[in-house]
Amino acid sequence: MGASRATHPTRRGKPVLAETIRLALRAVWRNALRSFLTVLGVVIGVGAVIAMVIVGQGSTASVQDDVASLGTNLLIVTPGQQSMGSGTTAGVVANFDFDDLDAIMQQIPGVAVVAPVSETRMLAVAGNQNHATQIVGTDNRYLEARDWPIEAGRTFYESELRTGAAACILGQTPAAELFGGGDPIGETIRFRQISCRVIGVLEPKGASSLGTDQDDMILIPIRAFNRRISGNQDVGVIMVSLADTVEPIRAKADIERLMRERRRISPNEEDDFTVFDMEEITSMLTGITSVLTGLLSGVAAISLLVGGIGIMNIMLVSVTERTREIGIRLAIGATTWQVLLQFLVEAIVLSLIGGLIGIFLGLGLGYLGTRMLSVPFWPDLQIIVIAFAFSACVGIIFGYFPARRAARLNPIDALRYQ
């Protein structure tokens, strides 16, 4: 005990943060069950936020991936004025026809491929198997525009396209559903009264982010589609693939001008068709996921708030329970700040433990979620750091009031507390 002492009685000591953290960990560990129940709100909040964001980002990445797999230089011309997410007004407006395709191909600079697409959903039957799938009336240019090779068999012959022959190319899904492991080439399938021969099978493309199976379709010549299914000469949608040399924005404007002309839209009227470029399609699709992610994250953030209130509640109980302990600490020379720090650190330790458990829970749930939606699992370090920081903030904000209450206790009142 030979330490020399400063002469003034109010000499200050060094900060004691390390000891305070050790003390807080011990206090938390001593009431392990209570601590766990206290932080459960934060665990669920952080876990939910992280899971939501992981699934949301996975979906977004997957959508972008899908759209990229369509080809970045693709434009899609649809009838009707379509806006994001809302339905189309098609039906009252005229569809396209084959002349529109030719006009685009010939008059718009930089257009590589133009493909007609008309589609409907139908039940396809082969033997005693059936499968509801998308019937797409198109031609070989569709495969070119989407850069989608054939896995087995062949594409349509020119003669088949010209005459609208009953020939079809199966996506992977109907091929598997209708023929199991067997080879479908040369087999016959039926939908409605049409029976057609399978001439080829597409390579697999996989599920899209929104859960739609891109392989779930059957291609038939568009003339066959028109004659036997739609009963008109229309083209539902025009798919335009651009050369790499041309700006999509430029081509889009050109097509809009051309189509206004062809459809005789006067200058003061709005378009009765829409040209989407891939960026718009991406933002439309990711828009849906980000709105959903935002909503769910908001709900999750509220549970984090509730978790914080839970921590505050237990810290207030703890301060009351430990009034005598606080009295002793004050008596042996703890300053207001040291007592405040002790309880604040305890609240922060609690919420950080909750945050940590929540991060692992969120990663686990996010993994399961991305698996279920078959979207990529790419946990984002940034969101983990944010969640961790957020739970620290919850601790600081909701721990401060109880800690201040402890620190402001009068030493003698605290010592006498029974």
Partner: protein, 247 residues
């Protein structure tokens, strides 16, 4: 011990000086005047017993002397500093560095080993772990508890717990040890052991001791007896330890 005093040329340094100290609890009809004007000087190295019936204000005086409570009016000077002007944290630092407390109910941290209890004031002083441990072990040895460092308070007898409390109070090398009924929960044999220990600290380490008690044979260990009655000092007499026990 190397307790260096700054005022080496002042004769008989006044460690503690209370003048006109009053303490009033509550207001209006419920007002309780616990201290009605106390003047008291205590010199360095004294062993003072504060006595009096319950409600006489002796505990209140002790709490004010220990900076656990503040006077309503009057002046309290400690080592020349006007403590009555100190703010909350300055009082905390004064308690930390210059005062040690021993209570009737021991007031040890539960589920915390004897060693860690004794280390606690040193943690607040910000000492490094190794030095803390060494000094805490020293203090425990001094109160005769070597070998019990790792025991929890619940594993120690009352007398042993009070020894831990004394070790905790002296581990910082304080000027003053304030003991509030330190033997109130102990049997006679244990009480005398504790008093012997405190006398020893007073003699060998020169620690000033202020002890509140209502037991005459405990007060008899002190060199000076201050009697409180109705919030005032009624008698302030010197005492020769070991002689008054018969009367």
């Amino acid at each position: 011990m190397s307790v260096a005093t700054a005022q080496s040329d002042t004769p008989a340094p006044r460690l503690i000086e209370l003048s006109g100290v009053t303490k009033v609890y509550g207001t209006g009809a419920g007002e309780v005047r616990a201290l009605r004007g106390i003047d008291l000087q205590i010199a360095k190295g004294e062993f003072v017993a504060i006595m009096g019936p319950s409600g006489s204000g002796k505990s209140t005086a002790m709490h004010i002397l220990g900076c656990l409570d503040t006077p309503t009016a009057g002046n309290y000077r400690f080592m020349g500093h006007t403590v009555s002007d100190f703010d909350r944290d300055q009082r905390a630092l004064l308690r930390r560095n210059y005062l040690g407390f021993v209570f009737q109910g021991y007031n040890l941290m539960p589920r915390t080993s004897a060693l860690e209890n004794v280390e606690l004031p040193l943690i607040y002083q910000g000492l490094p772990t190794a030095e803390r441990r060494a000094r805490a072990l020293d203090a425990l040895a001094k109160v005769g508890l070597d070998g019990r460092e790792s025991h929890d308070p619940s594993e120690l007898s009352g007398g042993q717990q009070q020894r831990v409390a004394i070790a905790r109070a002296i581990v910082t090398g304080p000027e003053v040890l304030l003991a509030d009924e330190p033997t109130g929960n102990l049997d006679s044999a244990r009480s005398h052991e504790i008093m012997a220990l405190m006398t020893d600290l007073n003699h060998t380490d020169g620690i000033t001791i202020l002890m509140v008690t209502h037991e005459h044979d405990m007060a008899d260990y002190a060199q000076r007896l201050v009697h409180f009655i109705d919030g005032r000092i009624a008698r302030d007499t010197p005492n020769t330890p070991g002689q008054a026990s018969a009367g």
